[in-house]
Symmetry: C2
Amino acid sequence: MSNTTDLNDKQIQILHVAETLFADKGFDGTSIRTIAKEAKINIAMVSYYFGSKERLLESLILYRTKDLKESIGSLVTDDSPPLEKINKLITIYIHQINANKGIYRILHFEIATKKRDLNLKAFTELRRGNLKTLALIVEEGQKAGVFQKEIAVDLLTPTILGTFFHFHMNKAYFVDLLKLHTDELYENYILTNLTKHIQQTIKALLIYES
Amino acid sequence: MSNTTDLNDKQIQILHVAETLFADKGFDGTSIRTIAKEAKINIAMVSYYFGSKERLLESLILYRTKDLKESIGSLVTDDSPPLEKINKLITIYIHQINANKGIYRILHFEIATKKRDLNLKAFTELRRGNLKTLALIVEEGQKAGVFQKEIAVDLLTPTILGTFFHFHMNKAYFVDLLKLHTDELYENYILTNLTKHIQQTIKALLIYES
């Protein structure tokens, strides 16, 4: 995957167009030709910039997850108490993913269906990096005697992200159950109640000694 | 949807064949004709039994989730302490879903992509029923003074199921991270470590007063 900090304006424009098309028509339903046409850029240029459609998706994933990497990484040098850092980390995850539902939806379906020739090494490294940050914060809390000793750090992210994704993947069910019948109510619920629930869950798990 | 308790052997045979085909080729990639052929049953008979392919999927969902409904429902009259009931509920969910990954995968993708004319009223009722059981157990624990008072019952299931699904949907990542390189290691991890993590998480949330 190309380094996303090196992307030029044209490349970013292509990624935005591709993202919309992938979200609307799926990865399979979108051709390089359509992307080029919608972006009003010569098809040869699109191929020159990204190579195949798979490589373009890889670049898109890195482009959209770069902010997450930077925000999570900045927590290492943040000097708030450990629990506050965990709360910040959860808020960052939810805001970031909630604001980029398109790419996470694509990621989710394209990765989970596993039929792609995708090299997600850079994305895996990003996840490993985020996990390392989380492990450092947990260790800090344990050393300070604030967190309990038996914490399965590797399983914290599945609980944080899984709760969010399960809620969002079952949107129709929860809209009905919780009477969130406008987009505003739904978005607001995610950023308040759901975020608070995830923070309380992780806090309880980190602090409560069973 | 037809009542799944009324299904005859032929109908059950058709559902099994359809489940395998949906999982292999996707819902769109599978025709009633192929299902009939694989099941060695006249196509007119398949249509007679289920109507459309959408109705067949609805029947399949109910058929595969019937056990879950019964197991969760039986907790209402179980006389273990509330926390033990919650642990049982989590074990039931994970065992049931883990043993029926095929249908949950189909459900997940077909519901989340939302392009289907599916009437999932009976499935929604099942979920509401399970939620009611969970709410009763939580209330029981609160009345007994074992659980804290501020519990968002509606968000417990997203945490229980979301943690499991996020783990499983990112199987390749976790297989690598946790070195679960055989199916046995992976399955065993789900039924021990992951289940325990979810139980500890929910226990901490129910008991810890923040």
